[in-house]
Symmetry: C2
Subunit: 333 residues, 2 copies
């Protein structure tokens, strides 16, 4: 294992120290327990949005904290769910009196710990709603998941709900939008290489010189099939094919197309994939109205990508376009 | 070799097609010859800024085209200089009557071809100034370079000169600022793995299981030494030590600290490096006034990072903070 780290057991703490130093004045990083909040939280009268999960997926979630997106994120150890005390403390810190939405990726530990945190927060008199994201069409159940895994749609839900909260929408509406984004989104990924967690020090799974894992999870969980290496065109046909069939996305749909790098794949290749995805959708009469191309939800150093499609409507499009000011996503009005 | 591509010989063309589709309305991608320009170019009365170089370093340079940064970028084949006809055509397309600045990384082919393009442009009656960036302290001469290589300072120069041009400053001043940025910047990088060009299909250089290349170039050129793997702290001491000694940066300096990922290194590790860099500089009385952490000048899939420091003054800081709206760097006023 070669990584830019010190001791494997210190990686998360030290990366959070780097985030705190790099984004001082915009983000606050709390230790013991760990959570990251926007510097101006709590914002009085605004619905607060909290997410979190294991580390190793940066910029998700901490890099999406800021005006127009998350109020707080709770980072666990690498590929390990954060603990209920983290979510509770973060919720208490950012709740502005209008309630808090927890956006939870569908992994057993995350769901369980977020539920416990919500119960504890309600005991403290706080109002909490939770929405579980489960957009990955690859497999029904998985290594750490009952049901489908939560992947790329999480980024889209955090952005769209963040914009709605910023507009002053009430908790029920913001949570409803989160469910809508999840219902209208589908994703699938592929790994060209495994990832290596710092503590394990060796690849999470073995993949032959010419093999790829189609439908891989963001922790290296098995997908649908292991197959020989393929071209970008063939891979897009497979990934986007599974995504499109599942919802289904059909002719006349307008979508947000998100090509996400897994951490070890350079941007140049993601643009090749995006060009193929555009071709694939155009052939089916599906129009890409918005797009996002880059490494936003990673799996440490895994080479590969995922494709997420969200069927847009006018409201979702408007909320996607709204200003956002976070380290990971940033644009103006 | 496992990459998200189709035929190796089509990678650059197809990635540019993806860029054109993803950023339609903001960027124009011209083919035959290849150049990328901001959609509103030429901007009358504004100094135009053109850069370029081999592909494989994305988002550099094409991802930095847009208001507040470059007017055009000329992508060559992977790790191959663009041709003079590309720079000439781009210059003709974006010159707004106030002259054009070419920002050139110091590689023999780039320098030669940009010089030819400038001569051709002057023959057409255009005014062109050129500034060569050579901020890499690792080695005196290198595989493709006489003198020092141009690396991370290029990103900073493109941003700062772009802001100055946007303010309406004349060509001589914008070029002068570019020289100032280069004079006040120093960089050094490290590779944990080689990169693999699509056409070669195998790693550019061999590195043992536990070896790293200190002072590596962005095309995999040899650095100062090959040594056993080290901690993030030791690597920062080595890289930042060489950078700080060279200018030198001394107590009381305010700097922009840029931790750049080489393409195969996840963001989490870059933040560990940033925390170490902050510690290193604080010990020496050097204050980080601005920072940039991410993969902005890559070497395909190479794992590793580089550190760039720029000694700031009030004007450089103000120009760094000015709004920018490109796919790769984006922030408001």
């Amino acid at each position: 294992m070669k990584k830019l780290i010190n001791r494997p057991e210190d990686v998360v703490r030290e990366a959070l120290a780097g985030i705190a130093l790099a984004h001082a004045g915009r983000l606050v990083v709390h230790t013991d327990p760990h959570w990251i909040a926007r510097a101006d939280a709590p914002v009085a009268g605004k619905v607060a949005i909290v997410s979190g999960g294991g580390s190793g997926h940066e910029p998700l979630h901490g890099g999406f904290v800021g005006p127009g997106m998350l109020d707080a994120a709770c980072p666990g150890e690498v590929f390990t769910s954060p603990t209920p005390d983290q979510m509770l403390a973060a919720t208490q810190a950012v709740d502005g009196g209008a309630g808090t939405l927890h956006i939870v990726k569908n992994y057993t530990g995350d769901v369980m710990n977020f539920e416990m945190a919500a119960d504890l927060a309600r005991d403290e008199g706080l109002t909490v709603e939770q929405v579980v994201i489960d957009d990955d069409v690859a497999v029904k159940d998985s290594l750490y998941t009952a049901g489908r895994r939560g992947v790329g749609a999480t980024v889209l839900a955090e952005k769209i709900c963040g914009a709605a909260a910023e507009e002053g929408r009430p908790l029920a509406e913001v949570a409803g939008l989160c469910r809508t984004v999840n219902e209208r989104s589908r994703s699938m990924g592929v790994a060209l290489t495994s990832c290596t967690t710092p503590m394990a020090g060796k690849p999470t799974f073995d993949l032959g010189e010419d093999e790829i894992e189609v439908g891989v999870g963001i922790h290296g969980e098995p997908g649908r099939e292991r197959r020989p290496q393929a071209t970008a065109r063939e891979l897009v046909d497979t990934l986007a094919g599974a995504v499109v069939e599942d919802l289904p996305f059909t002719s006349g749909d307008k979508v947000l197309a998100f090509v996400n790098g897994m951490g070890g794949t350079p941007l140049m290749e993601l643009y090749v994939v995006y060009a193929e995805l555009h071709r694939f959708l155009e052939e089916r009469g599906v129009e890409i109205a918005r797009n996002l191309v880059g490494s936003y939800m990673t799996a440490l150093d895994m080479a590969g990508c995922s494709i997420t499609l969200l069927r847009l409507d006018d409201e979702l499009t408007r909320l996607w376009d709204a200003p956002v000011d976070t380290p990971g996503l940033r644009w103006g009005a």
